[in-house]
């Protein structure tokens, strides 16, 4: 299917929007009517056709506009992209992984020609056509990690693996759910997860780390995470909290369907071969409540999940104050009928909303 790229914004006038197709392939994160933290990891080896799981790095209609937004964030705040000196090799690993994956998965959009270490990269949607020498930083306009992550949707944490832990020693983080690379840089897995409630006590991080340390070349993994965002903002960073935090108070019963977005992160994990580092892409998908409830199963389920979510989680995710208004809105889309297991929309089999 050919992709039409939206011309849209994630700030000021918020012209971001999802097409019918984008709504159908939205990664709704709840496989049942309730939610709690678990070690929800599975292999990342493709998925249903045109789903966000199909390709190693999903490219969708928001690609070009998201990359424009990233460039603006980086221009304002260069510390959103950092790489400690020992992480350059991992940056080349990441560049290679993305260029090879995208050129194989989307040959119409991306092409990579390699002749030894002389590489030629063509990125048609962004109008890039560059020749460079692999492993020679002087032949690229940025370091390898920054170069390729300016051309790839989602945030990227590049973790060094040593001493039985992972260390956040590099990353490009411009679309984050209220955490800061500049604050977390150099931290280990337990340190950067310290603010998360309940999960430590459940032993989730100890087990998750064991799993991550063992991720092998050629065997990537993935999981979904989610939170809530008012207005389709990609950049909900602590650095800019003064700009977006206040917008949470702008919700009204009239505008909530359009303004309140479910924010879902597709998180994947790849072992990087030359450096033995791990890369953790965090791909953010936004969907307005009014679009979510157009899928009957999702409307029913979202109401139940938000209603029953433990207070600690609603507080940590930053929507405890708006929860009553969300529930007023969502309850109109929950007729009490059963929902099927799994995250998929099931438009053909799930009954329409009873009114």
């Amino acid at each position: 299917m050919t992709l039409q790229f939206n011309d849209e914004t994630f700030r000021d006038d918020y012209s971001f929007h999802n097409s019918e197709r984008a709504i159908k392939r939205f990664p709704f994160p709840f496989d049942k009517d309730s939610y709690m933290y678990v070690v929800n990891m599975e292999q990342h080896r493709g998925g249903p056709s045109d789903s966000i799981y199909e390709m190693r790095f999903d490219v969708d209609e928001h690609y070009v506009s998201e990359m424009r937004d990233r460039a603006m964030v980086l221009a304002d705040d260069p510390l959103r992209c950092q790489s400690l000196p020992h992480m350059t090799l991992a940056g080349w690993d990441l560049l290679e992984l993305i260029m090879v994956s995208k050129s194989e998965d989307y040959p119409d959009l991306f092409q990579l020609h390699r002749d030894g270490d002389k590489w030629h990269w063509i990125n048609k949607p962004l109008g890039i056509d560059d020749h460079f020498t692999f492993m020679d930083e002087t032949t690229l306009p940025y370091g390898p990690m920054e170069y390729i992550t300016r051309q790839t949707q989602g945030d990227f944490c590049v973790l060094d693996q040593r001493d039985d832990n992972l260390w956040m020693d590099a990353g490009t983080i411009t679309t984050q759910a209220d955490w800061s690379l500049d604050f977390d840089i150099g931290m280990n897995f337990f340190e950067w997860h310290a603010p998360v409630p309940l999960a430590h006590e459940k032993g989730i991080f100890v087990r998750a780390l064991k799993f991550l340390l063992n991720i092998q070349q050629g065997a990537p993994a993935r999981r979904l995470n989610w939170t809530m965002t008012v207005n389709p903002l990609l950049d909900t960073s602590p650095e800019n909290y003064h700009k977006w935090g206040i917008q949470k108070t702008s919700l009204t019963p009239e505008n909530i369907g359009a303004k309140q977005h479910l924010r879902v992160e597709l998180q994947t994990f790849f072992r990087l071969p030359r450096s033995n580092a791990l890369v953790f892409p965090i791909r953010c998908y936004l969907c307005a409540f009014q679009d979510i409830v157009s899928v009957p199963k999702w409307g029913r389920r979202l109401h139940r999940v938000i209603r029953d979510l433990p207070e600690e989680l609603a507080t940590y995710k930053g929507f405890i104050d708006n929860r009553p208004m969300m529930l007023d809105y969502l309850s109109k889309f929950d007729d009490g009928q059963d929902t099927s297991n799994g995250i998929w929309p099931e438009l053909d089999s799930e009954p329409p909303l009873k009114t």
């Binding site: 050629g218 071969p273 450096s275 033995n276």
Partner: protein, 320 residues
């Protein structure tokens, strides 16, 4: 099976180096490219030895950037379970074999200002790949390599020819020994120590450098515990509801796999933690041989690492 896809390779060279060590070269059967890897990585080689499948880890010693072929060196172990004997006696040029994707449990700390490498015998192999990686990045390293004798000093000539200033060789039969105290004393701040060799050597380097005040995270070691043979025993797998026999020549993990039960694993050497299995019931004694579980976990009788550990006694029931 758990884990990544396997790689089908053809043996394209078998090169005896001395009485004990032979080098094998693997090229991909499909004519494509092998994955790159990081210095210190190993591959698990599958051997079809009659009815038994053997899986032995060997360090990759070729240039990590060379995607046309991998090389490993295998030291013949006449006492062991037979994997190395199989490689020496039954593998020849043209054979097809299956190997795993590279896995690195002995990786370089790329923050190090200097890499101080200490090798014993066949423990030289991961360093050969690490040296190639470091040379490409103009890294600072120094190797101290202990061998039994000149005749058994695999790759000594190659190393001293290519890096005369960075390589120091010690022959046991000439009573030459590494002077660890002196050696570590004159290293610059930010040096990391890497040791690979027999268990005794690893323990010595770890203990001595800790005594000398080196931080734990600056000391890296790799020791493959070749799965040791032992007495046969019987195991009940509770989840899959099977009773299996573990023969003296196979590991518990291999016996579980032979019964058609998909059990997780990664290193198959007691190091990675992946195969950790819960014990539901037992009467008898565990023979724990892993590096993963803590001492109190070993004593608890609640967990076993089936890739290297065994059991002697009447009943063993596992959560598999």
């Amino acid at each position: 099976m758990s884990g990544a896809e396997k790689i089908a390779v053809r043996v394209t060279e078998v090169t005896p180096l001395n009485d004990l060590v032979t080098r094998f070269r693997f090229e991909p059967v499909d004519g494509g490219l092998l994955p790159t890897f990081s210095g210190g990585a190993h591959t698990v080689v599958e051997m079809q030895d009659g009815a038994i499948t053997r899986l032995n880890p060997y360090s990759l010693m070729s240039d990590p950037f060379d995607q046309s072929a991998y090389t490993i060196s295998v030291r013949r172990d006449d006492e062991g379970r037979g994997g190395s004997l199989f490689m020496h006696k039954s593998v020849s040029v043209g054979d097809e074999m299956v190997i795993s994707n590279p896995v690195n449990l002995f990786s370089l700390d790329l923050r190090a200002k200097k890499h101080l490498m200490i090798a014993g015998g066949i423990g030289i192999t991961p360093f050969l790949a690490q040296i190639k990686q470091l040379d490409r990045a103009h890294g600072n390293w120094e190797l101290h390599y202990a061998c039994r004798s000149q005749a058994l000093g695999s790759y000594v000539d190659y190393l001293t020819d290519t890096h005369p200033n960075d390589v120091n060789v010690y022959y046991d039969d000439q009573d030459q020994a590494i002077d660890l105290e002196n050696l570590t004393d004159r290293q610059p701040l930010g040096t990391h120590i890497y040791v690979c060799g027999p268990k005794g050597m690893i323990n010595w380097v770890r203990a001595k450098s800790t005594d000398l005040g080196w931080p734990r995270e600056a000391i890296h070691y790799e020791e493959f515990l070749a799965p040791q043979p032992g007495k046969p025993f019987e195991v009940k797998l509770a989840v899959s509801n099977k009773v299996i026999q573990v023969g003296e020549q196979e590991s518990l993990l291999e016996a579980i796999e032979r019964a058609g039960v998909d059990a997780p694993y990664l290193c198959r050497g007691g190091a990675c933690g992946m195969c950790e299995t819960r014990v539901i019931d037992y009467t008898g004694n565990f023979i724990h041989r892993d590096h993963w579980l803590e001492d109190d976990e070993h004593a608890s009788g609640e967990k076993i690492m089936p890739c290297v550990s065994r059991f002697e006694g009447k009943t063993l029931v596992l959560d598999r």
